[in-house]
Subunit: 166 residues, 2 copies
DNA sequence: GCCCATTTGTTCGTATGTATA
DNA sequence: TTATACATACGAACAAATGGG
C-alpha cells in the first residue's frame, strides 16, 4: 500500500487521525499534535489540517481550546455505544426549560452556571447522535455525505411540503 | 463603529444565504451566485465564501456541481421540519432563545449572551442532523425509529414524552 | 475534435485576533 | 512580556468538470 490513497488530503488526514483515536494511539483526553506540527509531519498545508480537524470536530470526536490544544473527546466506538440520545435530548431540553422558568431576573450566577452545564450536556448528546449517524451511513454502504449527490432530479418538483404552521 | 454584526463572517454569510433560501429569493433548483461573485458582492475572501457554502451543504440545503454551479436543494423548512421528532426540539430551542432575550437585563449579561450563542449553535447542529437523518432513512426506506428499546441500564420508562406543551 | 473561459473543489502560504501558559 | 495555540480571514493557485465557440 504505497501509492497515493484516493480522495482529498484533508479527508485522508481525518481518516488517519480517526484511526489513531480508535486504536488508542490518541487516547481520550489527550491533545492532538498542534496544527503546525501536523503540517510539518504530514507535509500538507494549514488548510488541509484545518479541514481535517473540522471533520473530526463535527463528528464529535475532538474539541479545540484556543490557546491550549485540540483534545480527544471520545472514540468512535464510545460514541456509537453510548446509545440513542434522541430521548435524552428531549429530556435535557425540558430540564433547561424548567430551569429557565426558575431563573427569575433576580436569580444569580448559580442558575446560569447550572444552565451552562446542561447545555454542554446537550451538546454532547448532539455529538453522539452525529457519531451514530456516521456509523449508520457506513452500514448502508456510503461513507458520509460530505460530498453529497443531488439525489433529486433537476426539475424542481416544487413539492409544496406543507409544514407545521408557526 | 456600528459594524460587526456578531460572530464569524462565514457564519453570517451562511445565515444570510439561508434566509434568502427561506424567503424564496433563492428558489429551489436555482443556482447561487458563483463564488467569485459572492466574494465581490460581500467584500469577503474566498475562504469565507467557501466555509459558508460548506455549512449550507452540510445542512442539506445546497449541492455543488463542479463546472456548473451550487444549486438550492431544499428550503430550511423542507429540510428542517418533516414530521420528525427533532423538529420539536428545533422549535424548542427557538423558544428558549426568545426567553433568554427577555431575560437579559436581569442576571449577568455576558453569561446570558454566551448561553444564547451556545443554543444557536445547538440549533444548527440539530438542523444538520435532521437533514441527514431524513435523507438516510428515506434512502433505505425505513421509518425513523422514534421509540427504540432502551438497552441501557435505564429501565425506568417514566418518560414524559411531550415537549413543553405550548 | 479542440481550445478556452467559467465554476466548483481542493491546496498552498500567510496574517490577525484571542486565549493560554 | 514572550511564546505557543486555535480560530478566523486573506489572497492565490491548480485540477477537474462544464459549456460555448
Amino acid at each position: 500500500m504505497a501509492e497515493v490513497q484516493e480522495g482529498p488530503a484533508y479527508k485522508r488526514l481525518a481518516d488517519e487521525l480517526r484511526s489513531q483515536i480508535a486504536s488508542g494511539k490518541l487516547q481520550v483526553g489527550a491533545a492532538l499534535p498542534s496544527a503546525s506540527k501536523l503540517v510539518k509531519a504530514h507535509g500538507v498545508s494549514t488548510t488541509v489540517v484545518r479541514d481535517a480537524i473540522r471533520i473530526l470536530r463535527e463528528e464529535g470526536l475532538v474539541y479545540g481550546q484556543p490557546g491550549k490544544a485540540v483534545f480527544v473527546r471520545a472514540t468512535p466506538a464510545e460514541s456509537t455505544s453510548e446509545r440513542l440520545t434522541l430521548d435524552e435530548l428531549t429530556e435535557g431540553f425540558e430540564r433547561i426549560q424548567q430551569q429557565l422558568d426558575t431563573l427569575a431576573p433576580g436569580a444569580g450566577r448559580d442558575a446560569v452556571e447550572e444552565l451552562r452545564v446542561e447545555i454542554a450536556d446537550l451538546r454532547r448528546s448532539v455529538a453522539v447522535l452525529q457519531a451514530q449517524l456516521i456509523e449508520l451511513y457506513g452500514r448502508v454502504g456510503q461513507p458520509y455525505p460530505r460530498d453529497k449527490a443531488p439525489l433529486k432530479s433537476d426539475n424542481g418538483p416544487a413539492r409544496p411540503r406543507r409544514v407545521v404552521g408557526s
